[in-house]
Assembly symmetry: C2
């Protein structure tokens, strides 16, 4: 178990960062902040003993992760104990070209979160989750939408998972050759990588007078997606 | 099994695209082309019955996937049959803001590849893989590097997995509201997302006369990472 107190996730063999443990973080602040920078995650499940790695959209609320789980819904239904899952979020920040193969690397930030996934079946809980599935990304948007039908609510599967264990792993040191290798006549560089927003494409069938809400201003061409998502998160949970 | 012949992966309950099956593709051309556009994947394994979803760098050669597998190496050692794994690659291409919650979506391209992962232990096979671990991304680069030491080779774990089954899933239709919802006074748009290369950062300790090789020209500021990686792939395997 963790010796880092209540503001960190407990550490054991499941989530301990084994290789390059100096890159590991377990505190809520680091783990949660990273989780709030992204929309896309990959979730691993076990079905009939075999691993599946599924991409999906997700969000965090407190120590609970939510995701759009249609592909997992049959597996999760009637699993009252929940199904073990690992949800991982990764930003690739650079490719690092060093002077030897061994020091070739990448800068990245990732979180692995472990818990038991359950399908949200309670109607009240589900309706609230469906609001946040939109509003976490686009604050206050649900109130502007055509209301969901009963059939649509039924057809959307939302999965919830309390984070039982988690680790963040961050490499940000860029190029780092061995001291003696700087004497070797090899070209070396760091290639930054970033995920950015393109020019938003308005629907060409907007009704007269319908304009882009101010809450979407953060989603502007050229910005980092993670900045827009982090801001949206802060807006969505500003009262929570 | 597949009825699509030898140029497609067989389809069964494991890899059949269940939800939105119209988005599923199983042919080698689609699956392989998507796999060659990226550097980052997520791999799901099962360890002691629990799922793990690990981000790593990977590449493809024919119907085999390779990845940097240090975190998995203890699990894979002495597993002569290999360990079941699912390697997934995803591009998030847009966020779609529709007029109702149900039609909120994202454009994306993903591949899930299934097989059995094995640690490469044969020395010749491993040395070749370590060359391609660099040269697949940066063609002909290994020849310019300080040669690897025996210790470095030993300390690097490379995993190989023959693709037994695979599926690609692609959504690219952008905004698609229900016909009657276009009469609803909601703002709607598609927000494009792309992963781009930043300005390459040369090492400030390059030796005199050492210049950027022409093979890196594709990695230039503002380009899509996937375009640079696809080109590099074509260069690296031009004779294969």
């Amino acid at each position: 178990m963790s010796e880092q107190g209540l503001t960190s996730y407990p550490v054991d063999a499941v989530n301990r960062v084994k290789r390059r443990h100096d890159r590991g973080h377990y505190d809520h602040a680091t783990v949660h902040a990273l989780l709030d920078t992204a929309a896309l995650c990959h979730v691993a499940y076990v079905v009939d003993g075999l691993p599946y790695c599924t991409p999906t959209l997700y969000w965090r609320e407190g120590q609970t992760l939510y995701w759009h789980g249609s592909s997992a819904s049959r597996m999760l239904r009637n699993q009252s104990e929940g199904q073990a899952a690992c949800l991982t979020v990764t930003h690739l920040d650079s490719l690092v070209l060093a002077r030897c193969g061994f020091n070739h690397s990448a800068d990245y930030r990732s979180v692995m979160a472990f818990g038991h996934a359950r399908l949200i079946e309670d109607q009240t809980e589900k309706e609230r989750a469906l609001v946040m599935m939109v509003d976490r990304f686009f604050p206050d948007r649900t109130a502007t939408l055509r209301p969901s039908t009963t059939q649509e609510i039924k057809a959307t599967a939302v999965v919830a998972m309390n984070i039982e264990k988690a680790s963040a792993k961050i490499r940000s040191k860029g190029l780092a050759d061995d001291d003696e290798d700087y004497a070797f006549p090899t070209y070396a560089e760091r290639i930054p990588v970033r995920t950015v927003i393109g020019a938003p494409e308005q629907c060409d069938r907007l009704l007269p007078g319908v304009t882009r809400p101010a809450t979407l201003a953060g989603f502007s061409a050229g910005r980092l997606l993670e900045h827009a998502l982090t801001e949206a998160y802060a807006m969505s949970y500003r009262t929570g």
